[in-house]
């Protein structure tokens, strides 16, 4: 779809754990019930998406691989959380830093990942980055796919 979109940079993460929890609990209960024990145990989330619906609530987060076992323990200790939980690892985050996030950038990235047959587990925008959650062993392929539609600064990996 035309010229490559310039990017200010790209970053990929080390191995991470993806946790998805869904529950038909009253609104708000799942989010608080999930976040509180993690905060008490000083577990940081690199990415968090919660959604509250009338019929279902969902929590999706990525945290450091080293915190996976503790997090599984916390989830398993709460039957309400455990029955709707899925823990998947290792995943990785690939973040691109566009000059300005746009629907076109998100669309191009999704098309690039789909054409490379890389499953997407989630994504989100922030003020300066677009982050995609994929399997960790596909990060380099994702980077190569993104190079087809985005223009990253620098020539070698160190300059990206």
């Amino acid at each position: 779809m035309g010229e490559k979109i310039p990017m200010e940079g790209v970053n990929v993460s080390p191995k991470m754990v993806r946790v998805s929890v869904s529950h038909s609990s009253p609104e708000g209960d799942l989010t608080v019930g999930f976040l509180h024990p993690l905060a008490q145990d000083r577990i940081n989330m690199k990415l968090l998406i919660t959604e509250e619906g009338k019929e279902e609530s969902r929590v999706f987060c990525c945290l450091a691989g080293a915190d996976g076992t503790r997090t599984r323990g916390l989830i398993d200790s709460n039957p309400d959380l455990a029955k709707g939980a899925e823990v998947h690892e290792p995943v990785g985050l690939i973040s691109i830093f566009p000059l300005r996030s746009s629907l076109k950038t998100v669309g191009l990235a999704l098309i690039a990942l789909a054409e490379a047959r890389i499953p997407v587990h989630g994504f989100c925008s922030s003020l300066s980055a677009l982050t995609f959650v994929i399997d960790h062993d596909r990060l380099q392929e994702a980077l190569a796919a993104f190079e087809g539609c985005f223009d990253f600064p620098g020539e070698g990996p160190a300059g990206r």
């Binding site: 779809m1 940079g9 790209v10 970053n11 993460s13 080390p14 998805s20 609104e27 708000g28 989010t31 608080v32 976040l35 509180h36 993690l38 905060a39 000083r42 577990i43 940081n44 989330m45 690199k46 990415l47 968090l48 998406i49 919660t50 959604e51 509250e52 969902r58 450091a64 973040s95 830093f97 000059l99 746009s102 629907l103 076109k104 950038t105 998100v106 669309g107 191009l108 990235a109 999704l110 098309i111 990942l113 789909a114 054409e115 499953p119 997407v120 587990h121 989630g122 994504f123 989100c124 925008s125 922030s126 003020l127 300066s128 980055a129 677009l130 980077l143 990996p157 160190a158 990206r160």
Partner: protein, 203 residues
């Protein structure tokens, strides 16, 4: 580029150690290990009059969904926020645009997917509040503090998204002012901005 955005990019790339070139592969995760009695922020941003689209997108639909987003972007539909998580049926993909563009988005989705074929789960009128603060991406407990602050004022967020140093809260329409008041009781606003406009910037 705006200085604020430049600073955030530096934060999100982890350049606080003075490196001018971000490493492509960051093997060391940053973990901040401090806690404040009142969590500092750089102020709140309020964006009212928005529209959230949520679509169920299975893996076969992703190229079509991506194309629809591309075309909407080329047609000038601004992006406020996008987020998506995996469900047993595929991705639950959400994007938030100014409400002024709701009709254009509906038209584009219908053109690309056909009537009723776009997997739209819901379209909601929403407000967004977002804020950021020092080491927000590297510290535990920030999201919980925000959710608790809202719950204390009986405000239920439609969605909460934390990525990098930013926290985005998607709210039912008309609740953003109330949400900022609730958050301001838990989070500290910089003095300079609190004197000017109670630390709130409206987009």
């Amino acid at each position: 580029m705006q200085p604020l955005k430049a600073a955030l990019i530096s934060l999100e790339k982890g350049l606080l150690d003075g490196n001018t070139k971000p490493p492509l592969v960051n093997d060391l995760e940053t973990t901040a290990a401090y806690w404040e009695a009142r969590i500092k922020t750089y102020g709140f941003h309020r964006a009212p009059d928005l529209c959230l689209f949520e679509l169920a997108v299975d893996s076969l639909m992703i190229p079509l969904f991506g194309r629809a987003l591309c075309l909407m972007g080329e047609e000038g539909v601004p992006l406020v926020l996008t987020f998506s998580s995996v469900t047993p049926e595929g991705l639950a993909a959400c994007f938030v645009v100014p409400r002024l563009f709701e009709g254009r988005v509906r038209d584009r989705l219908q053109k690309e997917f056909g009537p009723g074929g776009d997997g739209t789960r819901r379209v909601l009128a929403v407000d967004v509040v977002f804020f950021y603060g020092p080491h927000f991406g590297d510290r535990f407990g920030i999201a919980e503090a925000a959710v608790k602050a809202l719950a204390g004022s009986a405000i239920r967020a439609v969605a909460t998204i934390c990525s990098g140093s930013c926290v985005y809260i998607v709210l039912p329409e008309g609740r953003s002012e109330e949400a900022v008041r609730a958050l301001s009781e838990t989070f500290e606003i910089p003095k300079a901005s609190s004197q000017k406009a109670h630390g709130v910037k409206q987009l």
